[in-house]
Symmetry: C2
Subunit: 321 residues, 2 copies
């Protein structure tokens, strides 16, 4: 870009090695450094390269700690190429007067889409039947495992925030009967049944979809008691965070038939997934990819680059934290 | 049942060996014979057992030919434990005065659910990512294949009948933009764009969902030209019949990248599936299971048994063909 041709600001990209989606667009307008290509340890790298760095672009939730920030004396802005920003030490940024931006809410629809996709996949056994055909087992008609209807299934949404609401809206035309649990009931124009606690939600529903954020209050909100209450036909879909479920107990409950099936996008200790799940048919697994689509990444990239350009041209930022 | 205890009518069940869902409920009220357990060839079996058979229960679309019918001199009714009845020689039944019943429309919602499930599965790569995790490939975060958004995808529905309409209704809240092709435009209150032919539908859309029935007119309605027109990001979902697509050309188009992916519930020569598909990642396969759920089978069973009981008690039939 012309405006930076003479004094192109130095931008430090802090990202996992595989996540290179923002590199090329950044290179058009900025002098780009990377933490992951350095053979030195991170803090050594920072102390030898830090003085020129005016912006950090944070990709893939790698932590931006107070120590990281304190090693960058010229830092003016942290651009999170993500919706979340809880991996950034906001207090330290505030203290130093460093601006922080995120990528808005472009992920919400994708997460809701995958939640519904996982639910249909579990109920209708889509990955299991795909495996069945690919392994050459479909040699006779009508001897495959039978799935289940969506119509009239009672779905309890845990956390009716923006994502939970998008999930509910998508499930309505399938004929699902939707209830929810959240800190307080939503306004009267929200047409779903409110349950004040997860145990009563589990008692009255066939399916739980976990859409809430992970806090001290919601840690292990789905424990063995909730699964026993949900019952042997019960299904759990988790697109929130692994810590919402007691993962060890969930594995036991699946093996023992305490619940019927699960669709999981998130796990306790990613990328570790309990290996006991790999042999189970009523389980569908995805690699924390709910918010990840090509279109969302493109959008995140555009917003991040636009934020950086705006910042260095003294224009208003698009999203500020 | 009491009403039949003295003269329980003889019912002949004609079904694939694996499809036993209706056996137990029938046995409560009728004397049941089966074609599939006979060591003799079918027509030999009929000529030695036929005289007492007053009803045939047809399961799984095994053909009920004129010859089959002509071997059953006491036949009064054919009960199709299915929605379809094109496997029954209706002319012969009419000529003989044999009643024919089917199981109503209980499958439509299930088929629409699977169509949407296949589409999300292809776009968001659900079975591929499930395989990826189960095979232990998720050892680093963020190195999995990225999927695509549903929002703003242009979806062309081929055949906006009852199933096509249910698919459209389900896709609306995902933000899909819906068009359709059918013999004639629907009334003005149908909010989707009409295309008079499949080629223009393919030209203007990202995704084709085949929901029409198979006729001489729709045989190979999706040929190479349609796939080339749909283009390299194109996706085809087929929950209609295998013959709607030129299967050989489709396999070539997938391998050559002429289209991007497919979700297939139906095939040209079931249960044969072209083996070239087994190694492709952008393909999701299901074994003609779109209309099959535990709840639908239960419903079909109830309707079929109720039809038989009604017939032998001179009550009105529930569904007549």
């Amino acid at each position: 870009m012309e405006e930076y041709s003479s004094v192109s600001p130095v931008v430090l990209v802090h990202r996992p090695p595989a996540m290179d989606f923002i590199d090329e667009p950044l290179s058009h307008s900025f002098t780009v450094l990377y933490t992951h290509t350095s053979p030195e340890p991170l803090l050594d790298f920072l102390s030898s390269n830090a003085s020129s760095v005016r912006a950090v672009v944070s990709v893939g939730r790698l932590p931006i700690t107070a120590e990281f920030i304190s090693n960058l004396p010229s830092l003016e802005i942290v651009v999170c190429a993500s919706v979340g920003f809880d991996h950034v030490d906001l207090d330290e940024c505030r203290r130093r007067g460093v601006a922080v931006t995120n990528a808005g809410d472009s992920y919400g629809e994708d997460v809701a889409d995958l939640a519904v996709g996982l639910l249909i996949s579990v109920l209708r056994r889509i990955p299991a039947l795909d495996r069945y055909i690919r392994s050459g087992q479909w040699t006779r008609l009508w001897d495959y495992p039978i799935g289940f209807k969506l119509d009239q299934k009672k779905v309890g949404i845990v956390g009716l925030g923006s994502i939970g609401s998008l999930v509910a809206k998508r499930l309505e035309p399938f004929g699902c009967i939707i209830s929810y649990n959240s800190r307080s009931p939503k306004p009267d124009n929200v047409p779903y049944f409110y349950y004040p606690d997860i145990l009563s939600l589990a008692a009255d529903n066939d399916i739980l979809i976990l859409c809430c954020s992970l806090t001290d209050e919601t840690h292990h909100i789905v424990d063995r008691e909730v699964m026993e209450t949900l019952g042997k036909n019960g299904i759990i879909i988790n697109i929130g965070r692994g810590g919402l479920v007691d993962e060890k107990e969930m594995v036991k409950c699946l093996v023992e038939g305490v619940i019927w099936g699960v669709g999981l996008d998130v796990f306790d200790n990613e990328p570790e997934v309990p290996e006991e799940l790999f042999g189970l048919e009523n389980v569908v697994l995805s690699p924390h990819s709910a918010g990840m689509t090509a279109e969302s990444l493109k959008n995140v990239t555009e917003v991040s680059v636009a934020n950086l350009k705006a910042f260095f041209s003294d224009q208003p930022l698009i999203f500020t934290v």
